[in-house]
């Protein structure tokens, strides 16, 4: 059984007990524990079921690479699935539950899959869920959905907060082990601005566990010393609980800081995502120990040798009383020696190397540990816990030589440098035959904006496994990084490390070498995805030779751990199956993040009321207080209508239209774009921008204009007012304010840069109110002494007027067909002006109206709306707007395009009005059908509805649409099938339904 030892636990504060629950059971741990060490201290070795076969699984590692021990952490608004117990710091009151089992962890129905494993080979889903097609929806999909995924998704809204932080450093060192510390010190000593981040709460990495000395003192003393020096350096920032999540182009780096995961009751954000720009990045991310593939290597109690050592030294936890060590390298001997010195039993060290190990092996033998060279494990006995191992000859086929009783197996297949961050942005790898590892090809680093490499590696991440090499390499990396960012490294002595000399590794990809199919089917490569040696071999036989294909086919290296333990073993097996060397197979692509990061940290501040900017007009609060029913228009919120208590949306819209046409309506038109265009060439410039002639407009007058892009398509429209000889004010649509201003600047800066024109977007300087209806002049005359009579301010004119103390510019323009004034006042006075009109208009029953009433009134008048009548493929000629296209101009944007054959094709659909025979309202977007079917067997069409409303003015449905030869077919009746199968019939009419001669607006 696993238990807490009386001694040891260098990271613990045993004086402080912490309580937590796992699957409802209450446990005790101590301060400094990870959830993993605390579970193991309570003999909770079984922590989950595997994904596919639901096999019992235990903790296998002590760090970020953990594939098995994933739990649902927390409850309700703090629940989060798939959390690794090995990287979860224990806190008082922690609750967690295991995943992927039913009804319980101990007894799981899904484990039947393990019995069926012969029938669930690699590619099972691809092979099985193919035919018949109708089975997909009702049979396969529900089955797959039921079995998909590891943890369950949270149900409640996340109660915590998250944030970003933009930071800039010369040198960022990722990893706070001895290599990272030394690299940071070397770079810091040179004067570089340095950030050193460490994903765990502790400095020093695993070197203090591994032993050896630096400058004659134990490694942990060296670590304490260098950390205290770094802490005093003003140019060095130290952050713990911060992971280098990803390295991107041009030195962009994401640092994922788990600020409060370990103290959930503290104030502040739970996670902070650091968006860092680094001149140079040093990855000192260490290495991951590889498992060995032997039958039963997934039985709880089989663990990485380094993890067994970590739990003993760091957390004072023994994984078992009797631990068999199996290895192909010297490092695992450290585990045996450590455990033995703690008084635990090591029945045997099984070393696959016929020639055995180096100095550490000698030390083990001296301690009386039995060492079996040239041997391997044939199989592990036990189901939910290791009971014994069968020893065999590694070079053979697995015949058992003897059975050794044990309750734990510590395995080591060698070490793989953590090259993820090096590789994220294109760093290349080399296969090191001698060390049996992929390590960074330092001559092919990721390159930055200047074309030079910006990532360096240090320590085990660079491929160094010897402490002296680690420190020398790290010091050099730190100095080089500082130099590359313009600093001069100091000459300094590298700390001298002393470490036992190690014998070389002999790669072992399968144990024993000649393992038969029965053994291979229980030799797990990927614990998380239940991929066995036999699966990868099958994939190779079936032709999935590319490592990327084999990954997807077998699921090797997928899901939350992304194959941190399995990838190298897997591609070695694949290489062997294909009969090619490992470098030829290569690795799958390393993609960020290094380990999963919370989605909320990516969202950062973009949640709740700051999810996105909502633009509000100066009258917004009045609208809100008066029951506005909102419509999003771009980022703006505009009132769609103002329903009265008990009134429906439809009724409110109809009422607003009627009140405006009968007496007086009020519209908040502040969102319309307003751009000042000024200069000696302003007229010439606007002549190019608009299809109309704008340069002939007289000061004091307004003109409606159309704007096309170079493709000839209509992109915006609005009224242009000439303010003086050199100055125009261009109104754009609400959505066009920013884009049209940008469009103007683009042409001025990149094509006609010698033209003397300046623009300014003054959209938000003004609150704009449309005062509309037969009583519009009357209400305004109450408020000013200025002359706004029909003579002084005629239709399509503008003038400056003062209303009380408020200065305003009044445009006599109409989008409703009524007598109408659009009045611009400074935004800060907008609300006061709005209130003033409301008060003065009370006697006329003034009615604020929303965007839908605006739409209906413009449709009654046959005015087009950008985005309804246009969709990016419509030219002004389609809309019968030829009158607004100047024939006198040699050029305007879109003119050449409109001369293209397709644009002048007489069969282009053209704008008409549509009147249903029964007065009903056509559905928006409905198509008019024509005879016959097209090549896809669909009904031919000859037109479509672009705008459709019930007109309260006419008491019937009105619509506009684009119809083939429409203007030549007045009176013809078209058929519009509805989605319910019925057909509506509508007559082609002129698009102007109301006041065809424009008498009402011109009074």
């Amino acid at each position: 059984m696993s238990t807490r030892l009386a001694n040891g636990g260098r990271l613990l504060n045993k004086a402080r007990t912490l309580e937590f629950t796992f699957n409802g059971k209450r446990f005790k741990g101590v301060e400094g524990d990870t959830l993993a060490s605390a579970l193991l201290a309570n003999d909770q070795m079984l922590v989950g079921r595997s994904f596919k076969y639901h096999r019992p699984r235990g903790i296998v590692s002590s760090g970020a690479e953990e594939p098995n021990a994933l739990v649902g952490l927390g409850e309700d608004a703090r629940f989060e699935p798939n959390q690794r117990v090995t990287t979860t710091e224990l806190f008082d009151g922690l609750t967690c539950a295991s995943q992927n089992h039913w009804p319980s962890l101990e007894f799981d129905i899904g484990a039947i899959n393990a019995k069926l494993s012969r029938f669930l080979p690699a590619g099972f889903y691809y092979k099985t869920f193919m035919f018949p097609r109708p089975f997909w929806k009702h049979v396969y999909e529900p089955i797959i959905r039921q079995s998909a995924g590891l943890g369950r998704a949270p149900r409640d809204r996340d109660q915590d907060s998250y944030e970003h932080f933009y930071a800039f450093f010369d040198v960022v060192v990722i990893g706070g082990g001895v290599a990272g510390l030394q690299a940071a010190k070397a770079a810091g000593d040179a004067g570089a601005k340095v950030l050193l981040m460490e994903q765990t709460p502790h400095w020093g990495g695993r070197a203090p566990v591994d032993g050896g000395t630096v400058d004659g003192q134990p490694v942990d003393k060296f670590v304490d010393g260098i950390v205290s020096v770094l802490e005093t350096m003003e140019n060095v920032t130290l952050r713990r609980r911060m992971m280098g999540a990803g390295v991107y182009d041009h030195g962009y780096l994401l640092g994922y800081e788990r600020v409060n995961d370990h103290r959930p009751d503290a104030s502040g954000p739970r996670h902070r995502l650091w968006r860092i720009r680094a001149g140079q990045i040093v990855t000192a991310t260490g290495a991951i120990e590889r498992p060995i593939c032997f039958s039963g290597n997934d039985v709880p109690g089989v663990m990485l040798a380094s993890a067994v050592r970590d739990y003993a030294v760091d957390y004072g936890v023994s994984i078992g009383d009797r631990t068999v060590v199996v290895t192909n390298n010297d490092d695992a001997y450290r585990t045996a020696i450590t455990l033995k010195k703690l008084g635990l039993e090591i029945p045997a060290i099984v070393d696959t190397r016929a020639s055995g190990g180096g100095a550490l092996a000698g030390e083990a033998i001296e301690l009386g540990i039995r060492v079996e060279n040239g041997k391997g494990i044939a199989r592990v006995k036990g189901k939910k816990r290791v009971e014994a191992v069968e020893i065999c000859v590694q070079a053979g086929e697995g015949a058992a030589l003897e059975e050794i009783r044990c309750d734990a197996v510590a395995m080591s297949g060698g070490w793989s440098p953590i090259v993820h961050l090096w590789s994220h942005c294109g760093g290349k790898l080399l296969w090191d035959e001698e060390k049996a590892m992929f390590r960074p090809d330092v001559d092919n680093a990721p390159t930055g904006a200047d074309g030079q490499g910006f990532v360096r590696c240090a320590g085990a991440a660079e491929g160094h496994l010897d402490l002296a090499d680690v420190l020398n390499g790290a010091d050099a990396a730190g100095k080089a990084a500082a130099q590359a960012t313009g600093h001069t490294p100091k000459r300094s002595k590298v700390p001298v490390a002393d470490n036992p000399k190690e014998a070389g590794i002999e790669p072992v990809w399968l144990m024993p070498q000649g393992a038969g199919v029965k053994l291979r089917m229980k030799a797990w490569l990927d614990y998380q995805n239940d991929v066995k040696v036999s699966d990868v071999q099958l994939a190779a036989r079936e032709g999935f030779e590319s490592v990327e294909h084999a990954k997807r086919y077998t699921t090797l290296g997928m899901a939350t751990d992304q194959g941190k333990l399995s990838n190298i073993n897997g591609l070695a097996i694949l290489s062997d199956a294909l009969g090619q060397p490992i470098p030829q197979t290569g690795t799958t692509t390393f993609r960020p993040p290094y380990t999963p990061i919370s989605l909320a940290s990516i969202a950062g501040e973009a949640r709740n009321e700051t999810f996105q900017p909502l633009r509000k007009t100066p009258m917004h609060r009045w609208h809100a207080e008066n029951g506005a029913y909102w419509e999003p228009v771009g980022a703006w919120r505009r009132p769609y209508c103002f329903p009265k208590p008990g009134e429906s949306i439809e009724d409110a819209v109809q009422r607003e239209v009627k009140a405006t046409r009968d007496s007086l309506g009020l519209l908040d038109a502040s969102t319309l774009g307003k751009i000042i265009v000024k200069g000696p060439d302003a007229g010439r410039f606007l002549d190019m921008l608009y299809t109309n002639m704008m340069s002939t407009l007289k000061p004091g007058r307004c003109r409606y204009g159309l704007m096309c892009n170079e493709n000839g398509f209509l992109m915006d429209d609005g009224v242009v007012a000439r303010l003086d000889e050199e100055t125009f004010l261009c109104h754009t649509t609400t959505g066009g304010a920013e884009s049209i201003h940008a469009h103007m600047e683009e042409w001025l800066q990149t094509e006609w840069w010698d033209w003397k024109v300046y623009t300014a977007n003054v959209t938000e300087q003004f609150a704009q109110v449309a005062v509309v209806g037969p009583k519009a002049r009357k209400v305004l005359e109450k408020l000013t002494d200025d002359d706004i009579s029909a003579e002084a301010l005629s239709f399509m004119g503008w003038t400056d007027v003062t209303f009380g103390t408020i200065r305003a510019r009044v445009f006599r323009i109409s989008f409703s067909g009524e007598l109408s004034y659009e009045i611009a006042v400074r935004a800060s006075h907008g609300r006061a002006f709005w209130d003033m009109i409301l008060k003065a208009g009370a006697e006329f029953d003034v009615t604020p109206y929303g965007t839908e009433a605006l739409h209906i009134m413009r449709a009654e008048k046959g005015f087009i709306m950008i985005g309804d009548e246009t969709d990016g493929t419509v030219i002004p000629q389609d809309l019968g707007l030829d009158w607004a296209i100047s024939k006198k101009k040699d050029d305007y944007l879109g003119k050449r395009a409109q001369e293209r054959r397709h644009m002048s094709d007489p069969t282009r659909w053209k704008l008409v009005g549509l009147e249903t025979l029964d007065g009903a309202t056509l559905p928006d977007g409905a198509y008019a059908t024509a005879q016959g079917n097209n090549a896809n067997g669909q009904r031919n069409v000859q037109g479509r509805v672009t705008s459709t409303y019930h007109s309260p003015t006419l008491g019937r449905g009105i619509a506009m649409g684009l119809v083939l030869n429409g203007p030549d077919r007045m009176g013809e009746v078209l058929e519009f099938p509805k989605v319910d199968g019925t057909v509506m019939r509508a007559k082609i009419v002129e698009p102007v339904f109301y006041d065809k001669d424009g008498e009402k607006q011109n009074v």
Binding site: H250, Y252, A449, A742, E746, T750, W753, D891, R896, E899
Partner: protein
């Protein structure tokens, strides 16, 4: 995510301050141009592997357009320069030649 230096205001900033505007040094063809010329102007953009010239706007900054010479493979930025020019300036071309001897792009080399 790229970093670019706006030659108009001198700010070096990350990509989110900028807005890409497609290929640079395109000659406008208006009324009077042939169908082929007009088609080429509007639709025939190059998307080379390697040296490329692009338009960018410092949208969340000074608002100015500028040109960038960039490698589409390595993302190396050879330089940024004024948008008020019809061809890359000599110093930019020299810098590209130093990094990518024998380069060519459209009619420039």
């Amino acid at each position: 995510m790229l970093i670019l230096t706006c030659p108009c205001c001198g700010v070096t900033a990350e990509e989110t301050e900028f807005h890409g505007g497609g290929e640079a040094h395109i000659k406008r063809h208006g009324p009077g141009s042939s169908d082929d010329e007009f088609h080429g102007y509007l639709f025939e953009k190059v998307n080379p592997k390697g040296v490329h010239f692009e338009r960018w706007r410092h949208a969340n900054g000074c608002g100015k357009w500028f040109h960038a010479a960039r490698c589409t493979v390595t993302l190396e930025v050879f330089g940024t320069y004024s948008a008020q020019t019809t061809e890359p300036p000599q110093d930019i071309k020299d810098r590209i030649s130093a990094r990518r001897p024998g380069w060519s792009w459209r009619e420039f080399a």
